[in-house]
């Protein structure tokens, strides 16, 4: 996703939070891994082993240059190549809202890994509502696109996302909310710009 660049050597705040939820030595699959920043961090600091999945040429090249395993593939083509239960954790950071078959991708995630972690932009943020009340589609740091050029297809609020997890028989293990990279505890559904969920089969 086209988020603002993070200074070199520092992990994007949502990725840092995700990394905290991953045990040392875990086998990790990162869907929509961009240039492999999360996996590079997990390899170097936690001894994890993993693979990124990316469709974008420049991102794949970025992973190769970082020494991160990457498989060039459209995640919506299914994860059959990865085999059931091969991973401890399957991550999708800031990518799920850009998928066509969001429900299918979440199902596939829970088939190949024991635990899933998803981060996405919280569409329920007050600014979005304010923007729409003023007659404009929201353009924000997490969603820096105009309505006509956005890759985002399936935007959700936290409650929406939790409903879908419930429908898919996935149990929430943990959740965290960030506003501009800082943790939010008060009124997160209105104040958080990013939501992060950790879940597993119920």
């Amino acid at each position: 996703m086209n988020l603002p660049p993070t200074p070199p050597g520092r992990l994007r705040p949502d990725l840092a939070l995700i990394a905290d939820w991953i045990a040392p030595g875990a086998r990790v699959l990162d869907l929509g891994c961009a240039d492999g920043a999360l996996l590079a961090h997990l390899q170097a600091s936690k001894g994890c082993h993993g693979y990124g999945v990316e469709i974008d040429d420049a991102a794949v090249l970025g992973c190769v240059r970082r020494g991160v395993n990457v498989i060039q593939q459209d995640i919506e083509g299914g994860l059959g190549m990865f085999g059931a239960g091969l991973f401890d954790v399957v991550v999708s950071s800031m990518a799920i809202q850009a998928t066509h078959k969001t429900e299918y991708v979440l199902r596939e995630m829970s088939a190949v890994g024991r635990v899933g972690i998803v981060s996405f932009p919280n569409f329920g943020h007050w600014f979005h509502a304010w923007s729409i009340l003023r007659g404009r589609m929201p353009v924000s740091r997490e969603m820096p696109y105009q309505w006509y050029d956005t890759p985002n297809l399936h935007l959700a609020t936290m409650r929406d996302f939790e409903d879908l997890l419930g429908k898919l028989g996935l149990r929430i293990l943990a959740r965290a909310f960030l506003a501009d990279g800082q943790p939010v505890s008060l009124l997160p559904s209105l104040r958080a710009t990013q939501a992060i969920y950790r879940f597993a089969q119920a």
Binding site: D57, R65, Q73
Partner: protein, 382 residues
């Protein structure tokens, strides 16, 4: 990277090594007193950790890069990939190219004299497999003092050799780079090979493979073999773009069976060029080696099981328009490696050129190989 840095390895002299110890072949036969011709570029470092083996495909050879000392117009077949400042940088790596057993560019093959009879081997040259080639390459590596390769790399049939190295000599391969390849030929692939072989074998000038004794070459058979092969190397799109229905030097049809279309002219040109340098018996041998390659066969068809002994890191690359060894075939290899938890990177390069793309200079493709070898360099040259 400027042109000045993207220099050639320069003039190269092929070398030759003799092996007196018999090499046991998969067919049950063995071959003794054979020679392998090879070239090297760059310098083997003191730790002997920077060697890269390049395996060749059907009609290529040990002459991977640079200009041949014998013929300055003879530029190595992967000169855009291997050289100072190139993706496989000979300022850092010691690169070895070797001509395989049974080929016709100097290593022992059907044109060589069989020491047992004093005559050319011809059709008596034993059928060799990809695995046999790898065994022979391993002996050459021993002789060159290379215990472990930083990488073994190849495209197409060369990729099969890289893959075979990874499971036959797992401790001797740090990285395996397999490009535009497949874990086994499909029925369609074998069918194309069989058409090519029948064209050669049924040429009256083939003489059961003893055409050397008759002072002739089964050129017509080789022509058809090369034409059919060449069609499978190109994509429909690239043929349409380069030739389309363009006519050869005439505004309208001549209503004859002479060359009418540009594509016919091109195929005939390629065919004649090929027949002038390539040995017919070698063509049979190498297409058979392609047909037989199937590492999963001895594992009940389970490629993951066949590759379970591998230790290397893998870079697997396919090309979107390659219909000879399509991306789906590369994904089979990747899937088997994932099952084993191996380090593997897979890239599907969007290139219009079909199977031939692995020999061409595509920016994304070369950047991937360059990036991967830069990582290898940080490991082995630390």
């Amino acid at each position: 990277m400027s042109d000045a840095q993207q220099d050639s390895v320069g003039v190269v002299q092929a070398q030759r090594m003799r092996f007196s110890e018999p090499l046991a072949l998969r067919s049950g036969a063995s071959i003794a007193d054979y020679e392998l011709v090879y070239e090297t570029y760059g310098k083997l470092n003191a730790q002997r950790s920077n060697a890269v083996l390049i395996a060749h495909a059907l009609n290529a050879s040990h002459h991977v890069a640079g200009r041949s000392a014998q013929d300055p117009d003879d530029i190595g077949w992967w000169d855009n990939m291997v050289g100072p400042g190139k993706p496989i940088d000979t300022n850092r790596f010691f690169v070895v190219g070797v001509n395989n057993l049974g080929s016709c560019f100097g290593s022992t093959g059907p044109m060589s004299i069989n020491p047992a009879t004093g005559l050319r081997y011809g059709p008596d040259f034993p059928v060799v497999t990809v695995e046999d080639w790898v065994d022979a390459q391993a002996r050459l590596a021993d002789a060159l003092g290379i215990g472990r390769f930083a990488a073994v790399m190849g495209g197409s049939l060369g990729g099969m050799q890289a893959l075979a190295w990874s499971h036959l000599y797992p401790q001797r391969v740090a990285h395996c780079v397999a490009i535009a390849t497949t874990p086994k030929l499909s029925a369609q692939n074998i069918a194309f090979n069989e058409v090519a072989r029948r064209a050669i074998i049924t040429d009256p000038e083939f003489h059961g493979g003893r055409f050397y004794d008759h002072g002739v070459v089964p050129a017509r058979g080789l022509h058809v073999a090369r034409m059919i092969g060449h069609i499978t190397y190109l994509s429909d799109d690239v043929m349409a773009e380069r030739f389309g229905r363009m006519l050869r030097g005439r505004a309208g049809y001549a209503f004859s069976f002479d060359v009418e279309f540009e594509i016919e002219s091109y195929l005939r040109y390629q065919a004649e060029k090929f027949a002038s340098y390539f040995d017919a018996n070698t063509y049979l041998l190498i297409t058979r080696a392609l047909d037989y390659f199937d590492p999963a066969q001895s594992h009940g068809g389970d490629l993951a099981s066949a590759l379970s002994v591998t230790q290397a890191g893998f870079l697997v690359i396919s090309f979107s328009t390659d219909w000879r060894f399509s991306p789906a075939r590369s994904r089979e290899i990747v899937q088997a490696l994932l099952r084993n938890g191996r380090d593997v990177t897979y890239a599907e390069v969007d290139a219009p050129h079909g199977h031939d793309a692995f020999l061409l200079d595509d920016a994304q493709y070369h950047a991937l190989v360059r990036g991967y070898f830069e990582r290898i360099a940080t490991e082995v040259l630390a």
